[in-house]
């Protein structure tokens, strides 16, 4: 029954679709710039992973992906790694260092894309540090373009810490997106034979119509387990 509830969980659908779009954007950039050396890097914020998702780790994860597209590890990063290794037990990175290293990684490239998914799921306490770090990087690397998704309450933080550089677009997955998502889930459900045609029809009819209402209700419903 839990699995069936996942169809009806507006929060689940919302989370899935917003990640869907981030993933779609990243791959479209890779395809569009396949003939050029244009690095792309992404991070997916997750409220269940606040302990590891520090600003330093997030910026470091972006740096890691950019470095991975380069033929050589930039000298500044290699040297910083060696210095850290020489310390007993190794030394973790501070956010200011990760910013410096990301800038070093981006130095050889003319343009790059950075995608931050679900910024609203990032720790509120650490959000200013993350956004300020991204602002520093974007100011010193003019070819960098940031794609950020998030729910409305983080908009003010984005506008505050990325002053003047953010274009905000209201976004709503259209009803076709929701219907196609539901059709896909129903089609791939191994237990679909247990579901009557009438119930399937009801799902396809009701969910797209009711999704805003469901979303309000579903905010207080535990998210159904997914395959993630």
């Amino acid at each position: 029954m839990v699995r069936k509830n996942s169809y009806l969980g507006g929060k689940f659908i919302a989370n899935w679709i917003k990640r869907y779009y981030s993933s779609l954007v990243i791959d479209s950039l890779v395809d569009h710039f396949s003939e050029e050396d244009v690095p792309d890097a992404c991070v997916y914020c997750d409220f269940r992973d606040h302990e590891r998702q520090t600003a330093a780790n997030m910026i470091g994860a972006l740096t890691k992906q950019v470095v991975n597209t380069l033929s050589t590890v930039p000298t500044e990063i290699g040297e910083a790694f060696e210095r850290a290794e020489r310390e007993v037990g190794g030394r973790g990175l501070q956010v200011s260092e990760t910013v410096r290293l990301l800038r070093a990684a981006l130095a050889p490239v003319k343009r790059a894309f950075i995608c931050i998914d679900a910024l609203d799921e990032f720790s509120d306490k650490r959000l200013p540090q993350l956004l300020a770090s991204l602002h520093t990087v974007s100011q010193t690397s003019p070819g960098i373009r940031l794609f950020i998704t998030g729910r409305p309450h983080v908009r003010s933080a984005v506008e505050k810490y990325l002053p003047g550089s953010a274009q905000v677009i209201p976004f709503s997955p259209n009803s076709d997106d929701i219907r196609e998502y539901l059709e896909m889930r129903l089609e791939h459900d191994l237990d679909s034979e247990e579901m009557s045609p009438a119930l399937k029809a009801d799902i396809m009819r009701c969910i797209p119509e009711k999704i805003p209402d469901v979303y309000v209700i579903a905010d207080s419903i535990p998210e159904a387990p997914s395959n993630r």
Binding site: G10, I13, A14, I17, Y20, Y21, L24, V25, I26, D27, S28, C42, Y44, N57, M58, I59, A61, T63, K64, V67, S71, T72, V73, I77, G78, F81, A84, E85, L93, L101, P108, R111, S138, P142, G143, I144, L146, F147, I148, T149, G150, R151, P152, R155, L162, S165, A166, Q167, V168, I169, P170, F171, S172, P173, I178, Y181, I211, D213, Y215, N227
Partner: protein
């Protein structure tokens, strides 16, 4: 290029050499060693593995779903850098007037 030199000094002199040359002096360099050294640097940069999450999401995508968004003027201007430099960031959010009733 010889794969064993991939992580060594590049033509512009900006490459990283130190830890990788240590193995060269012993004539024991292998591609695996270089890959290991590179992996160590990458792991040190962050324990997070966002590409794993990305691969998970993308395998569950459906052809055509959401393609309309990639054709919007806002997205194309942002991607192609046709806007002013100041608009380097595209923030996609739910309509502030809708709040939690909004799908996203």
């Amino acid at each position: 290029m010889d794969p064993s030199t991939q992580l060594e000094l590049n033509a512009t002199g900006t490459g990283y050499t130190n830890s990788f040359n240590r193995t060269n002096t012993l004539n024991t360099t292998t591609n695996t060693t270089h890959a290991d050294e590179r992996a160590k640097v990458l792991n040190w940069l962050s324990p997070l593995r966002p590409r794993v999450r990305h691969e998970d999401v993308r395998t569950r995508r459906q052809d055509g779903l959401g393609e309309w968004f990639l054709q919007t003027d806002e997205f194309l201007r942002w991607r192609d850098g046709k806007g002013e430099f100041g608009k380097a960031t595209l923030f996609c959010s739910g309509n502030p007037g809708v709040g939690k009733t909004f799908l996203w």
